[in-house]
């Protein structure tokens, strides 16, 4: 097998090569309750780390939908920017506010971060397609370009390219406070003159300057689109032609010269080089020995918080659903004459148990998403990418591949979507295959439970060992693939912008956390609830006596199926039908493993971990021939390495297609089985 993707395959990995529909086609047809077809469409563009998404969130508030751009795999947020028309007088001296058109609201599209319109990743390709390559009639009504006051020159290259087209542009200048601390002052009026488009200083984190921004947008929309900045006016197709014949060199030189001139005109510097707080922090955070130690400490803290803080909340929710909610439902069903029937089973053991399980999962996800948002927003994640670049480089992956892998420890599904930040199809494919080996929080719940049952006061260490094993499996599998199928993949050099450290804002963290949680609930809810109902159904179908809905678990179709598969796992020490049944459920969703045990052992009160634990311990005692601890460890390793969940498979299919998804599925099963057998066979000699 080769990973030299044939051209057709590449299209699948880079679906943007086709024709994603334009903003007008998409937004005009999609506006519903959140907007109207007559609303102007504004595209938000800018380099990564300039505060673009923060500005988007500040402008749109809660009126946001997130999703893939139609026909592509690039995630784009779309929101409504409402005009809170104030009555205050205009303070600016260079506009004519009286002739403003009345814009109630605008549709705002947050395009992915891009340094330039060079299409080196699917994200940048989409920005280019939607903003630059389309004919004027199909282009957004206005492009809102976010530029970083502290690093104006680097933000302006994209603006230089945009100004070569006939587009209405407004600059939103962020990070003014950071720039001032560095002795750089932006003169927005001079900057506007130099660029040929209005420039407004904003601070989206503190919601400063947003009204001025709306005013500038209104004025710009009212005026005709400005002429392209180059002296000789060229059609878009002519620019394309020049860029094709001359791969950017002369054009790029001209743009850099323009950028330097504009930055010079638009800013004043006091000339002092300051030792910055971020530099002082980096003296430790990136140091040869201290850096990796700090990194490990932060990772350890993240998992400590998710295990110790989430557990009581989970227990409470679990108890609430299996206790009062279930009892209430039983009482209600008895009142309507359905007590003790299969309807009660479906409702209590299927639906309520499923929803309850999904909700007990929520605190863990919230905590993980908050922590990730904090790491991201504070600027530390970029440093982590630098520290891990060499390790990633050994796998042939760039430092930024570290990001999806870290996200994978929260949830594999967004992590696989996150591989889009990698510019090359083969790097993405390799990362997509490695992400499922990162131990997500759903697996954590099972590890914590098994840790408590089998390892007592060493539970925390056992859980930590699973994370260490997870990293080891990622690295070793990556190395193995790199040495075989990915032999010819070139390495991507590390070039990463280190944003200044900043205190994360509560509002932004909460917003990001909520969006991610919503995404998780949307992907997972159906699968989880349906699986639990499915398991209940299998358990309700009798094989060995009983009637539908009234059958001992051991006599059901579920037990019969699991028993047939169980002997396969004898060499790993857990070849027993209850355990195997849990693995079958775990294939669909790991968070269903514990409740599957709860159902198979028919524990009256699944909240009572002691009772359930005793059952599980007894089962492992038998299946392992007296080495339950070794078998439990082997089981945890298997759980770590095989298919994380159906949602992950779906995400993989979406990113790399059926064939590679299938390859990954088999790869994980093989790795999981081999490791589990090895761990048990060695472990039984020790414990």
């Amino acid at each position: 097998m080769s990973v030299e993707a044939p051209s057709g395959k590449r299209h699948q990995l880079l679906p943007l090569v086709g024709t994603p529909i334009t903003v007008k086609q998409c937004c005009v047809s999609a506006v519903g309750e959140s907007g109207e077809a007559s609303d102007p469409i504004i595209a938000l563009v800018g380099a990564p780390n300039v505060g673009k998404s923060t500005l988007f969130n500040a402008l749109t508030g809660a009126h946001v939908t997130m999703g893939n751009w139609p026909g592509t795999t690039v995630e784009v947020s779309r929101g409504v920017w409402r005009n809170k028309r104030g009555t205050e007088a205009c303070e600016c001296s260079h506009c004519t506010c009286s002739s403003e058109p009345d814009i109630r609201q605008a549709t705002l599209i947050d395009l992915p971060g891009a340094y330039s319109l060079e299409a080196s990743s699917p994200d940048e390709h989409l920005t280019r397609t939607l903003v630059a390559d389309v004919p004027e009639a199909e282009a957004p009504d206005l492009v809102l370009a976010v530029v970083d006051a502290a690093h104006l020159a680097r933000s302006l290259y994209l603006v230089a390219e945009l100004r070569e087209r006939s587009r209405r542009i407004v600059l939103a200048v962020t990070m003014d406070d950071v720039a001032r601390r560095q002795g750089v002052t932006v003169d927005s009026y001079a900057l506007s003159e130099a660029v040929g488009a209005p420039a407004v200083i904003v601070d989206p984190r503190r919601r400063v300057g947003l009204d001025h921004l709306m005013r500038a947008v209104r004025e710009t929309l009212a005026a005709p689109a400005p002429a392209p900045r180059r002296a000789v006016v060229m059609a878009d197709s002519a620019i394309e032609e020049i860029e094709r014949s001359d791969p950017g060199l002369e054009a790029a030189d001209e743009r850099f010269a323009w950028v330097a001139e504009v930055a010079e005109l638009g800013t004043t510097t006091d000339g002092e080089e300051r030792v910055r707080v971020s530099d002082r922090i980096d003296r430790v955070a990136l140091a040869p020995v201290a850096g990796p130690l700090v990194f490990l400490a932060i990772m350890w803290l993240v998992f400590q918080i998710t295990t110790t803080v989430a557990a009581p909340l989970q227990d409470f929710l679990d108890g609430f659903f299996s206790g009062p909610v279930s009892t209430g439902a039983v009482w209600l069903l008895e009142r309507v004459g359905l007590g003790g029937t299969w309807v009660e089973g479906l409702l209590v053991d299927g639906l309520i148990a499923g929803v309850g399980m999904l909700l007990t999962f929520v605190p863990l996800m919230i905590l993980m998403f908050i922590l990730l948002a904090l790491l991201e927003d504070s600027g530390y994640l970029a440093r982590a990418a630098v520290l891990t670049d060499r390790v990633m480089g050994a796998l042939g992956l760039p430092g930024r591949a570290f990001l999806p892998l870290v996200v994978g420890f929260g949830c594999n599904v967004p992590a696989i979507a996150g591989t889009r930040i990698l510019p090359h199809a083969r790097q993405r494919l390799l990362t997509v295959l490695l992400v499922p080996f990162t131990s997500c929080t759903a697996r954590l719940t099972v590890f914590v439970m098994l840790g408590a049952v089998f390892f007592g006061r060493w539970a925390g260490t056992a859980v930590f060992a699973m994370y260490a094993a997870s990293i080891l499996i990622v690295v070793l599998t990556g190395l193995a693939l790199r040495k075989t199928l990915w032999r010819t993949m070139p390495s991507e050099p590390l070039v990463i912008d280190l944003p200044p450290y900043q205190a994360p804002t509560v509002r932004l963290t909460a917003q990001v956390t909520w969006l991610r949680l919503k995404g998780f609930l949307q992907t997972a809810s159906g699968i989880i609830v349906l699986t639990v109902i499915g398991v209940w159904l299998l358990q309700a179908i009798p094989v060995d006596g009983g009637t539908f809905g009234h059958v001992a678990v051991g006599d059901s179709l579920y037990a019969w199926l699991a028993e047939k598969v169980a002997p396969v796992f004898d060499p790993a020490g857990f070849g027993q039908w209850q355990t195997v049944a849990a693995l079958v459920v775990g294939f669909v969703a790991k968070e269903a493993v514990i409740s599957s045990w709860g159902q198979t052992y028919a524990v009256a009160d699944p909240e009572d971990v002691t009772t359930l634990g005793e059952h599980i311990r007894a089962a492992f005692e038998v299946s392992s021939g007296g080495h339950p601890t070794a078998a439990a460890l082997a089981f945890m390793i298997f759980l770590l390495a095989y298919t994380p969940c159906l949602a992950t498979l779906a995400a993989q299919k979406r990113e790399v297609g059926w064939r590679w998804m299938g390859f990954g599925f088999v790869l994980q099963l093989v790795v999981a089985y081999v490791l589990a057998v090895v761990v048990f066979q060695i472990g039984r000699l020790i414990v």
């Binding site: 340094y115 502290a150 140091a287 280190l498 200044p500």
Partner: protein
Amino acid sequence: MAESKGNLTFVNSILTSSATGSPGATVLSLDEAPVDVPVVVVPAPEGTSAAHRLATLGWRPGAVVSVIRRTAGGARVVSVGGARVAIGHTLAHRLLVEVPA
């Protein structure tokens, strides 16, 4: 890899005395550049990957940059136009800078 090292040596040899025309200046690869000393960016060897990306970040021939620190893993944090850019060890070995005399 051997080929690229060969290129580098070749480029080094022709650039050593002529990058900015200032006599006594020495051309070094970025990973050899001293810390906290302003240095001038010299054109990178042909075919250096990420050249365009570096350019958009301000790493252009003639730009004055300085290495702020070496990091764990051998990367260099470089001050480019006031911003901090981390450059990995393999790329740092290929990029050239000139230390003024």
